[in-house]
């Protein structure tokens, strides 16, 4: 049985523990931050107005979660939460490459050729992964993380239910809808893999009881998504876009950074 770490101060005493913990917190924070950013590009463009409002709540909640994780990192001495969110370079980021992918061709202001099938597939796979990860984090030896996961999971339940409903209804609807979703699912099975990776410190993360074994985590996720998806999706997805957990990212993340730092970089010291 691993010893519980009650505070950041205690965790920092054990360097290996603190490093593994920070690695995991960056994954949580960066994933939520980037998927919320992609969600904010969707504002005003959802299939109908009522959905626009509902989707936006999820996007906001998720940015709220990212903020909470950045604050945990701040407590660990990693730096100011806003700076962590905005000022880190591409290769310092730990988000999954699949989550960074652009919503489609075009720009959110000009000709946004966005695909609702990608939104549904990506968010469903992500929210399922996040749920499994949070459930494991609720039992983390790092007490502040366990407490936060317990809180976050309360409102994350709606997020998963929302995307699961979309997935189920569209898979059961017209051939056109089903084909669009299946094609995005096939793509996800090539690309989603790094979201399920716990990164270079995976073994320490498990050893210290900060989270569970990567393999166990992957299997839990697979069991969950199998309940909703067609039987053919029974394997762990590949990582054809690279592994964001190791700082390997594509151009899409740089595109996102250029947008979300446009105002911030005018004056990083200024109060906005």
């Amino acid at each position: 049985m691993n010893k519980s770490m009650e505070t950041a101060e205690v965790a920092k005493q054990n360097r290996a523990y603190a490093e593994a913990l920070a690695e995991l917190l960056y994954q949580f924070a960066d994933d939520d931050f980037i998927i919320s950013f992609r969600g904010s590009e969707w504002l005003g463009l959802a299939p109908f107005i009522e959905e626009d409002v509902a989707f936006s709540s999820i996007t906001q909640n998720t940015m709220g979660h990212a903020t909470m994780f950045f604050q945990l990192l701040e407590e660990l001495g990693e730096g100011d939460a806003d700076a962590l969110a905005h000022a880190r370079k591409v290769d310092e980021r730990r988000s999954s490459v699949y989550l960074e992918k652009m919503n489609g061709d075009g720009h959110y202001i000009e000709e946004p050729d966005y695909d609702w099938a990608l939104a549904v597939v990506r968010n469903f796979l992500y929210e399922t992964m996040k749920r499994v990860k949070l459930q494991a984090a609720m039992k983390s030896t790092y007490q502040p993380l366990a407490n936060m996961a317990t809180k976050i999971i309360m409102e994350q339940t709606y997020h998963l239910a929302h995307w699961k409903l979309w997935m189920e209804q569209l898979l059961g609807a017209t051939d056109e809808a089903k084909e669009k979703l299946l094609s995005r699912l096939d793509e996800a099975w090539e690309e989603f893999g790094d979201a399920l990776s716990l990164g270079p410190k995976a073994s320490d993360i498990a050893k210290f009881g900060i989270l569970i074994e990567e393999e166990t985590f992957k299997q839990y996720w697979l069991e969950e998504v199998k309940k909703t998806l067609p039987a053919k999706y029974a394997t762990i997805p590949k990582k054809s876009l690279g592994n964001g957990r190791e700082g390997m990212h594509g151009e899409d993340l740089q595109q996102a950074i250029n947008i979300f730092t446009e105002v911030y970089q005018i004056d990083e010291q200024a109060v906005w």
């Binding site: 109908f48 009522e50 959905e51 409002v53 509902a54 609807a173 051939d175 056109e176």
Partner: protein
């Protein structure tokens, strides 16, 4: 299944919610959704983003029979001669009880509702 007319996507649902255990269900507003599961998924974020809801109902508007404009004019009127239905018609009992026994009072609303606290002592 083939694609139906896009118009059928927009079905009207009335949304009701309950803010706390002690309050009755309250009408919120209406929304458009393709089916009741989607309607329920949309309801809270559209109308109760900033307030509590411990229960939510969605009802297809086509299932509601409400009074029409004309019916409202003629079916909601009532003569003011129904004192026998409420306590207003029984105030005279106060005096009659007093004549019988000074300490005994008629059982009024305040008295009866106070029994909810149970028997004391």
């Amino acid at each position: 299944m083939s694609g139906a007319n896009e118009k059928n996507f927009y079905k009207e649902y009335e949304v009701f919610s309950k803010k706390s255990n002690k309050l009755p269900l309250q009408h919120q507003f209406s929304l458009l959704a393709p089916n009741k599961e989607m309607a329920l998924m949309m309801a809270q974020e559209n109308f109760m983003r900033r307030e509590d809801a411990i229960d939510i109902w969605v009802v297809a508007r086509e299932d509601i029979r409400a009074l029409t404009g004309e019916e409202k004019q003629v079916l909601t009127k009532r003569l003011d001669n129904k004192d026998y239905r409420n306590t207003k018609g029984y105030g005279y009992l106060r005096k009659l009880w007093r004549e019988k026994e000074e300490k005994l009072k008629m059982l009024d609303e305040k008295e009866i509702m106070s029994w909810s606290e149970g028997r004391k002592g």
